[in-house]
């Protein structure tokens, strides 16, 4: 389990875009570096990120190396009604983690 911080506005209006900010605690090892013994450090990045709102995909992104450690994502979502935002990401070890956040539309 990696640590994730999700930030959504408290006040969300129906059919108006709002910003979702996500911070994920991850080393994002590029695979290009070598350790002190000259051995290549294996790549370890989040390679896939999907955001769904009540099951409907709102963002589907492939990640590549050259993203800094502890990546910060920011994207806009439009909601018609209150629901649950699910953020799922997969890293190079095949570990999948899903974080849920309630969206309250006023």
């Amino acid at each position: 389990m990696v640590r994730v911080l999700i930030n959504v506005p408290k006040q969300i209006h129906a059919n108006e875009p709002f910003e979702v900010k996500v911070l994920i605690s991850h080393p994002m090892e590029s695979g290009q570096r070598r350790d002190q013994m000259g051995q290549a450090i294996p790549r370890d990045i989040i390679n896939h990120f999907i955001a769904t709102l009540d099951g409907e995909t709102v963002l589907d992104a492939d990640f590549f190396p050259a993203i800094a450690a502890n990546p910060f994502l920011s994207f806009s979502v439009v909601a018609e009604k209150s629901g649950t935002l699910a953020l799922t990401f997969v890293d190079d070890h095949g570990v999948t983690q899903t974080e849920l956040t309630a969206i309250t539309v006023t």
Binding site: L5, K21, L23, S25, N70, F72
Partner: protein, 246 residues
């Protein structure tokens, strides 16, 4: 004559306040924006971990930080006063040393290593409670003078003192990077270069390795004295913990 002296004193104190620049003032707009927005500041990943550690019982005594200290908001203003004198050591200790002392003496738990993420998480959480407050380290002798002497002492194969960079050449460039004045008002901080969190000690250690000196030990009197000197030098500046720096 008296008036002249007064004027000089007034000018000095003005200069002292106006000339002091936090690393924040010299950071790029992007870096400042990261620090300004708690949702974008990666250090808050550590703060989040610190919140769960605060109430997690550990060690032989089965106690958590919260069992003695209550809610972490009670720590408001504490980090701003550190390094503070600790009778047991007979010298000022840093906040990280204080946390470890709590662990060994009151919790019956093992002390964290100086670069342990858990230690940084707790000190970031405690430091955050003092954010926006003025640094208020107590000037205690002889530790302050010792710290000042260390600040001006040439060391390492490059034979450089802290003061030569962070006082005499502050604001100039070293290998393309701006040399900051070295105010410790944002520690522990998230450094983009480290891609992680680091304490004041990590910064000190990096500087000392940079001048090819043998770094002071993390729990040494020298490291704490230097931290005290710098904290007193930054007294009155706002605590920015957890800061973001390039």
């Amino acid at each position: 004559m008296k008036r002249l002296v007064l004027l000089a004193v007034a000018a000095m104190s003005l200069m002292g306040a106006g000339d002091r620049r936090s690393g924040y003032d010299d950071a790029s707009a992007d870096t400042r924006a990261m620090q300004d927005d708690d949702a974008a500041n990666p250090a808050f990943l550590w703060v989040q971990q610190g919140e769960s550690l605060w109430s997690a019982a550990e060690g032989a005594a089965g106690k958590s930080c919260a069992d003695c200290h209550g809610d972490v908001s009670a720590m408001r203003g504490v980090a701003a006063r550190y390094p503070a004198f600790e009778p047991k050591h007979g010298r000022p200790i840093t906040l990280e040393e204080r946390i470890n002392l709590c662990r060994t003496d009151h919790m019956g738990a093992a002390a964290f290593a100086w670069n342990d993420d858990k230690l940084l998480s707790l000190s970031a959480l405690i430091g955050l409670q003092s954010r926006g407050m003025p640094v208020a380290a107590k000037a205690q002798e002889p530790f302050l003078s010792e710290g000042a002497a260390l600040f001006r002492e040439r060391m390492g194969q490059l034979n450089l003192s802290c003061a030569q960079c962070h006082e005499e050449r502050a604001g100039l460039k070293l290998a393309g990077s701006l040399i900051p004045q070295g105010h410790p008002n944002g520690y522990p901080e998230y450094r983009l270069e480290w891609q992680g969190m680091g304490s004041f000690y990590r910064r000190l250690r990096n500087c000392m390795i940079g001048v090819r000196a043998e770094p002071f030990a993390p729990d040494s009197r020298e490291a704490a004295d230097l931290a005290l000197f710098l904290a007193v030098r930054a007294n009155g500046m706002k605590v920015e913990t957890p800061a973001v720096r390039p």
